[in-house]
């Protein structure tokens, strides 16, 4: 069964390309939300298995969205991968991934193989719980 991934980022072009890539590289069903204030509602309807979340967005930043998700009884347990242009890849040791709370931080521009690996690991880990 394909896994559902929600992309939350105000950059429509970025989300569109990421969706195409995810759909091409794996068995993913991808939904896009470009308005962070709508993210929670969209997620409740879509019931994703994982969320990819941009950190800097107008209206509401990634941290706020993350907090909303974590406060939700059902969505609180799904893995969230945060994407940010603010961290330098050098700050993250050798392609490794910084852990912040239950979410995972990845630098932007995204290294697609790394993202795919992190995503499938996170989905597997979530399944085991």
């Amino acid at each position: 069964m394909s896994k559902k991934v929600l992309l939350v980022d105000d950059e429509a072009g970025f989300t569109e390309l990421l969706k195409m890539n995810l759909e091409k590289s794996g068995d993913y069903e991808v939904q896009i939300e470009n308005d962070p204030t709508q993210a929670l509602g969209t997620a409740r309807r879509f019931q994703p298995d994982a969320v990819l979340l941009d950190v800097v967005m107008p209206g509401m930043d990634g941290g706020d969205v993350q907090a909303q998700f974590q406060g939700d009884p059902i969505l609180g347990n799904i893995p969230i991968i945060m994407l940010t242009a603010l961290v330098d890849s050098a700050e993250l040791s050798e392609g490794a991934v910084a852990q912040s709370g239950s979410s995972i931080m990845l630098p932007k521009p995204v290294d697609l193989p790394l993202l795919l690996g992190v995503l499938s690991n996170a989905l597997e880990a979530a399944e085991e719980v």
Binding site: E11, F14, L17, M20, G59, L83, P109
Partner: protein, 421 residues
């Protein structure tokens, strides 16, 4: 003591040097008044009965003789070009002399009478004035340079502030590009509808990154004012792109209103970007505690009439009735300006921000840049709403730029030099 005639005593009391030579007797001196003694430092007793060759250097004497002959030949008054006489005690005396041919019928003698005015003082003060003027020009030039450096320093400061934002703005298009490359490198299926779309987005991303980088390079380069014909709408779009990050992070809503038929203005783009960035960053700072921060940017065009509405006397000094001007207003809903600070916000280094947050140069440098463009910058509290409004008024026509028609870019820092002082 010799009896002195009235004429002689009058001559001795005149403030000009007077002498006469007898052309019929080898140009020997027959008259030498007191002032002539003073300027030449040669006593009358020594001079009378001698000619120029006995009293002055051969070179000077040759010259005097040639003038004397010319005066007699032409038979009328001649003005001698200003001359410098070196006195016997080595001092320079500047003389302005006229020579007059006089025929003495009684003695049948042809005389040359000279009247010299001592203009040493005048020459000295003129020289002093000239050197003073030179010093002044030099000081002015230095001032102008310092001001350019100040503008540059302030700019570097705001570049630092912008760097994080710019990094973000460049990384976003890069992220997009990389995803495009990832997609395409998995093999291109000719029937894949996504490919065209992806290529289009990659092109947009490159252009966006390029615009940001170029904007930053323009912004940081130090050079004289380079004005070009500018559409304010485009400039504002570029600036908003450059500080999108800052606005996003502070949650500031931006409302831009520019009339479609707005005339072009002549601006140094990078300097003007600096002004707008300064003003917008000030506004976002002022709105730091505002519930829903909103920045309204309103551009209007106005033909100035005889009495200018809502404008103080200062305006009329810069702009004249009949001028067509463009107003650019940045209205924020921040904390506004405290009445005790209103007179000082444009002072260099005046800041109400914590150390490290503001140098207090933004507004003073911005006002200077606007003035260099023949415009005006003001900052006031808004009338009925809480918040401040920064207003830039700019001329739409620029006569002062030489060669404007010929080339699009015009270097005109010199034309504006006086305004800097």
């Amino acid at each position: 003591m010799e009896p002195v005639s009235i004429v002689e005593s009058v001559l001795d009391n005149l403030p000009v040097a007077i002498f006469a030579k007898d052309a019929t007797d080898d140009f020997t001196f027959i008259l030498w008044n007191k002032k002539q003694e003073e300027v030449t430092t040669i006593r009358r007793a020594k001079a009378l009965g001698k000619n120029d060759y006995k009293l002055f250097s051969r070179e000077s004497a040759d010259y005097f003789r040639s003038v004397d002959k010319a005066v007699i030949k032409r038979g009328k008054l001649m003005k001698v070009p200003d001359e410098i006489l070196e006195t016997q005690d080595g001092e320079e005396v500047h003389l302005r002399t006229v020579k007059i041919p006089v025929f003495d019928a009684a003695t049948q003698r042809q005389l040359v009478v000279g009247i010299s005015e001592d203009i040493t003082e005048q020459v000295r003060s003129r020289e002093k004035l000239e050197s003073l003027n030179k010093t002044l020009t030099e000081a002015n030039r230095e001032l102008q340079e310092t001001q350019m450096q100040l503008i540059q320093a302030e700019k570097l400061e705001s570049i630092g502030r912008l760097a994080a934002g710019v990094a973000h703005e460049v990384k976003n298009p890069l992220a997009l590009l990389l995803l495009g490359v990832d997609y395409l490198s998995q093999g291109i299926d000719p029937d894949d509808q996504n490919v065209d779309k992806i290529l289009g987005q990659m092109r947009d991303a490159v252009e966006r990154a390029d615009r940001i980088v170029r904007g930053l390079v323009d912004f940081s380069s130090q050079r004289a004012l380079m004005r070009e014909q500018t559409n304010l709408k485009r400039l504002l779009d570029d600036v908003l792109l450059l500080i999108r990050h800052e606005l996003t992070r502070s949650n500031t809503a931006v409302e831009l209103s520019v009339p479609a038929d707005l005339p072009d203005v002549y601006l140094d783009l990078s300097k003007f970007e600096q002004v707008l960035i300064n003003l917008i960053i000030n506004a976002t700072h002022a709105m730091g505690k505002t519930e829903s921060p909103k920045l309204e940017i309103v551009v209007l065009c106005e033909d100035l009439q005889g009495v200018v509405k809502n404008q103080g006397a200062r305006k009329k000094e810069v702009f004249r009735s009949g001028d067509r001007v463009v107003h650019l207003e940045l209205r924020d809903n921040g904390h506004g300006i405290d009445s005790k600070d209103s007179g000082r916000v444009f002072d260099p280094f005046f800041t109400t921000k914590a150390t490290g947050q503001g140098t207090g140069l933004g507004l003073s440098v911005s006002r200077k840049i606007v003035a260099l463009h023949g415009g005006e910058l003001t900052l006031k509290n808004r009338e009925n709403v809480k918040g401040a409004v920064a207003k830039i008024t700019l001329p739409t026509k620029v006569e002062a730029i030489p060669g404007k028609q010929g080339s699009k870019k015009v270097k005109d820092v010199d034309t504006n030099a006086s305004k800097l002082a």
